[in-house]
C-alpha cells in the first residue's frame, strides 16, 4: 500500500496491450501472474481474507493460466490434456473457452506462441495448472473429506452456529490451509531430483504450500534458454527434497504457518 502522502510512481511500461502477440503482452502476463500469486499467498496468511478479493484474484490467476495454456501448435496436443485434467471443473467462460477450443478472445497469438515454443512453455503450463489446482482447493475450504492432523493448531474449527432458519450448520471457515499430511505425501525425492524441485513438489491438491516461499522465488518466464527449466537454480536448491533436506521443508512450514508445531492453545 502506498505510504501516506507519497505519490506513486507508475512504471513506464505500464500500458494495457490488448495485442496478445507482442512480447510486451507476454511480459505483462507474467508480471500479473506473479503479482497475483503473491497477493493470493499473502491473503491466505490473513486470519480472514476478503472473499470477494480472493475470488477475483483466483479468477485472474485462472484466466492467466488458461491463456498460457493455449500452447503453441507444437505442444498443442500435449498440453491440452494436462490443462483439462488438472484444473478442477469450472463453470466460467474462460475455462470453457480454453479447453473446448472456443476462445473468448481472438486466438491470433497462436502463431506467435510458436516462436516461443520450447519445452519450458510446456512445463510452465503444467506447473501453473498444478499450482492452480492447489489454489482451488485452498480458496474456500478443502473438500469435506480432507484429513486433518492434530498438528494444525491454526485450523479453523467447523461447527454449527446458533441461530435461526438461515444458519449454516457445519463448515464455517472458508479459507482453510492445506494439511501437513498432504504435504508430506507429495514429497517425492526421486521426482524432485529429476525436476529440480518446485514443480515436482506436488501433483495433487494440498501440497503446494511447501513451495509457498519457493513460489515467491519463481521469476517471470525468461526468454527461451538452453535449459528446459530456465529458472534461477539457487532458491530451488533449498527445496530439493532429499531425505536429508526434509528439515529444510519444515523450516519453510514453520515460516508459513507459525503455529503449526506448537502445542495447541
Amino acid at each position: 500500500m502506498i505510504l501516506k502522502g507519497q505519490k506513486r510512481k507508475l512504471p513506464s511500461e505500464d500500458v494495457e496491450v490488448p495485442d496478445q502477440s507482442s512480447p510486451l503482452w507476454e511480459s505483462q502476463r507474467q508480471f500479473v501472474f506473479s503479482v497475483s500469486l503473491n497477493k493470493y499467498q499473502r491473503s491466505q496468511e490473513l486470519p480472514e481474507p476478503s472473499l470477494r478479493r480472493s475470488v477475483l484474484i483466483a479468477n485472474t490467476l485462472r484466466q492467466i493460466s488458461l491463456e498460457a495454456c493455449r500452447s503453441p501448435p507444437l505442444d498443442q496436443q500435449a498440453s491440452e490434456p494436462s490443462c483439462s485434467s488438472t484444473l478442477s471443473p469450472q463453470n466460467n467462460a474462460a475455462n470453457r473457452s480454453c479447453c473446448s477450443g472456443e476462445p473468448s478472445v481472438p486466438m491470433t497469438e497462436d502463431e506467435d506462441w510458436g516462436l516461443m515454443a520450447t519445452d519450458s512453455d510446456f512445463s510452465l503450463s503444467a506447473a501453473i495448472s498444478s499450482i492452480l489446482t492447489a489454489l482451488d482447493s485452498t480458496v474456500d475450504g478443502s473438500p469435506q473429506a480432507a484429513p486433518r492432523t492434530p498438528l494444525r493448531s491454526l485450523e479453523n474449527l467447523s461447527g454449527p452456529s446458533e441461530g435461526g432458519v438461515a444458519m449454516e450448520a457445519g463448515r464455517t471457515s472458508y479459507m482453510d490451509d492445506v494439511t501437513m499430511e498432504d504435504l508430506f505425501q507429495d514429497i517425492d525425492s526421486s521426482q524432485l531430483e529429476k525436476d529440480m524441485g518446485v514443480l515436482g513438489l506436488r501433483s495433487g491438491a494440498g501440497g503446494c504450500s511447501a513451495g509457498n516461499d519457493v513460489i515467491r522465488y519463481l521469476p517471470p518466464l525468461t526468454p527461451p534458454s538452453s535449459h528446459p527449466f530456465s529458472f534461477s537454480a539457487e532458491p530451488l536448491q533449498h527445496c530439493s527434497c532429499t531425505a536429508a533436506a526434509v528439515p529444510q521443508v519444515l523450516v519453510f512450514l514453520t515460516r508459513c504457518y507459525p503455529g503449526t508445531f506448537e502445542p495447541r492453545g
Binding site: 494495457e16 503479482v35 477475483l56 469450472q90 478472445v105 475450504g141 474449527l157 441461530g163
Partner: protein, 439 residues
C-alpha cells in the same frame, strides 16, 4: 449542473488520521433533515439540519451534531478465533412514523435497529420520590399530586431496540429497507436474508449462491437493494458485473432470477483485469423505480429495468485509469468499492474517485463535472472550481496529471439530499457538505 459551493466540513484537520475516524458510510434520512455517518470505530454520528435563520435567509441552514453513539463494538468469534470488526458498513434509515427516528446500522455480522428520540420535558412532582430521586417514606405522604411535565434542555437519546445477529457466515455488504416498512434484507458475499423488523431470532434466506463445493466458487454478491415501490422485488449485483432482479412472489428461494442484466464485453478492451474492473461495487434504484444505477471500477451505468442486455446510459468516471490498471492492481486500489447516488429528481448522479475528486453527471444535458473535497477550497460559500485531469502529453495550467493523483485520498461514500441540492461527501475522516448556489 448547478454551481456548487462549500457549506461545511466536519472532522479533524490533523494530517494524522486515526483509523477509527475513517468514515465508512453516509446516509440522509427520507426528509433530508438528518444526515448519518458511520465510521470504522463503530460509531454513528447524526447531524441535523438547523432551520434557516431569519437573519440570513439567503443561506440554507447548517447541519449540526444531533446525536453520537457507539453502535457496534469489536467482537471476538471464539469458534473461528477471529476478530469481528466494529466498522459500520451501512446505515439505512426507516421512514419516520412517529416523533422518534429509527435507523439500521450494520457491521460485518450484526445488524442493529436504533431508536433516536428526543427528550425535552421531564416529570416533576412525583409522589414516591423527591426531586433529587430519593425515595420518600410512604408514611409521610399525606396527599397525592399529579406529576407535571416541565421543560428541560433537549436531550437526544439513542437506544438499540433490536439486534439481528448470527445470520451471516460471510461479511455483510448491504442492507435495504423494504417499501412495506416491515421487512428488510441483508446481503453478504454469498447469501441474502429477509428479516422482519420485529423478529430478531430468525430470518428467511432468499438467495444462496454458495456452491456445494467451495472450490467452484467464482462469483460473489457485492450489493443488494429492495425496489423502492414494489415490495416483492429486489436486485443484487455480483463480482462478475451482473445484476439479477428477483421477485419474491415467484418462489421462497430466489436463486432463479426474474431478470438478468449484463452488458456484453467489448472484446477490444479486454485485459487481464477485465473481470475485476467489471465487479459491481454498488447498485441503487432510482427514486422513480424505473431505473437502477451500478458502479464498477471505471464507470457508472444506468439501466432501464425493462432492458436486460445493456445499460441505457454509461458514464466514464476516470477512464484515464484504464492504462494504469496494472499498477492499481499491484497496490490494491483496483479493489476499492465506490458507491454512487441519485439526486432527488433522478436527473443527476454522483460518485467518487481518487485525489478527493468526485464526479457528477447530468442525465439530461449529458454534462459532467469533477469537483474536489479539500480544505483549500473550504471557504464559506466559496464556489467549487471544476477540476480536470490531463490525459494527453500537454498539461494545461490548472490540470493535474494522472501520475500526480493521490490514490490514498479516495471518495468512496457520497450522499445526495432527497429533496434539495445538498450533498455530503466523505473524504477519509472528514465529511464535506456542499450546496448549490442560491441567489
Amino acid at each position: 449542473l448547478a454551481a456548487w459551493c462549500f457549506s461545511q466540513v466536519k472532522g479533524a484537520i490533523d494530517e494524522d488520521v486515526a483509523e477509527a475516524d475513517i468514515i465508512s458510510t453516509v446516509e440522509f434520512n427520507y426528509s433530508g433533515e438528518l444526515l448519518a455517518t458511520g465510521d470504522k470505530g463503530g460509531r454513528v454520528v447524526i447531524f441535523q439540519h438547523e432551520q434557516e435563520s431569519k437573519n440570513r435567509p439567503h443561506l440554507r441552514g447548517e447541519y449540526n451534531v444531533y446525536s453520537t453513539f457507539q453502535s457496534h463494538e469489536p467482537e471476538f468469534d471464539y469458534l473461528k478465533s477471529l476478530e469481528i470488526e466494529e466498522k459500520i458498513n451501512k446505515i439505512r434509515w426507516l421512514p419516520q412514523q412517529n416523533a422518534a427516528h429509527f435507523l439500521l446500522s450494520t457491521n460485518d455480522k450484526t445488524i442493529k435497529l436504533w431508536k433516536i428520540s428526543e427528550r425535552d420535558k421531564r416529570a416533576e412532582g412525583y409522589n414516591l420520590k423527591d426531586e433529587d430521586g430519593r425515595l420518600r417514606d410512604p408514611f409521610r405522604i399525606t396527599s397525592l399530586r399529579v406529576p407535571v411535565l416541565m421543560p428541560m434542555d433537549l436531550m437526544v437519546e439513542a437506544s438499540p431496540r433490536r439486534i439481528f445477529a448470527n445470520a451471516h457466515t460471510y461479511h455483510i455488504n448491504s442492507i435495504s429497507v423494504n417499501s412495506d416498512h416491515e421487512t428488510y434484507l441483508s446481503a453478504d458475499d454469498l447469501r441474502i436474508n429477509l428479516w422482519h423488523l420485529e423478529i430478531t431470532d430468525r430470518s428467511f434466506n432468499i438467495v444462496d449462491i454458495k456452491p456445494a463445493n467451495m472450490e467452484e466458487l467464482t462469483e460473489v454478491i457485492t450489493a443488494a437493494e429492495c425496489h423502492p415501490h414494489q415490495c416483492n422485488v429486489f436486485v443484487y449485483s455480483s463480482s462478475k458485473g451482473t445484476i439479477r432482479l428477483c421477485d419474491m412472489r415467484a418462489a421462497a428461494l430466489c436463486d432463479r432470477h426474474s431478470k438478468f442484466f449484463e452488458e456484453p464485453e467489448d472484446p477490444s478492451s479486454r485485459s487481464f483485469f477485465s473481470e475485476i474492473i467489471s465487479s459491481i461495487s454498488d447498485v441503487k434504484f432510482s427514486h422513480s423505480g424505473r431505473y437502477m444505477m451500478t458502479r464498477d471500477y471505471l464507470s457508472v451505468k444506468v439501466w432501464d429495468l425493462n432492458m436486460e442486455n445493456r445499460p441505457v446510459e454509461t458514464y466514464q468516471v476516470h477512464e484515464y485509469l484504464r492504462s494504469k490498471l496494472c499498477s492499481l492492481y499491484e497496490n490494491d486500489c483496483i479493489f476499492d468499492k465506490f458507491e454512487c447516488c441519485w439526486n432527488g429528481s433522478d436527473s443527476a448522479i454522483m460518485t467518487g474517485s481518487y485525489n478527493n475528486f468526485f464526479r457528477m453527471f447530468d442525465r439530461n444535458t449529458r454534462r459532467d463535472i469533477t469537483l474536489e473535497a479539500s480544505r483549500e477550497s473550504s471557504k464559506p460559500r466559496a464556489t467549487l472550481k471544476p477540476r480536470k485531469v490531463s490525459t494527453g502529453g500537454k498539461r494545461k495550467k490548472d490540470e493535474i496529471s494522472v501520475d500526480s493523483l493521490d490514490f490514498n485520498k479516495k471518495i468512496l461514500h457520497t450522499a445526495w439530499h432527497p429533496k434539495e441540492n445538498v450533498i455530503a461527501v466523505a473524504a477519509t475522516n472528514n465529511l464535506y457538505i456542499f450546496q448549490d448556489k442560491i441567489n
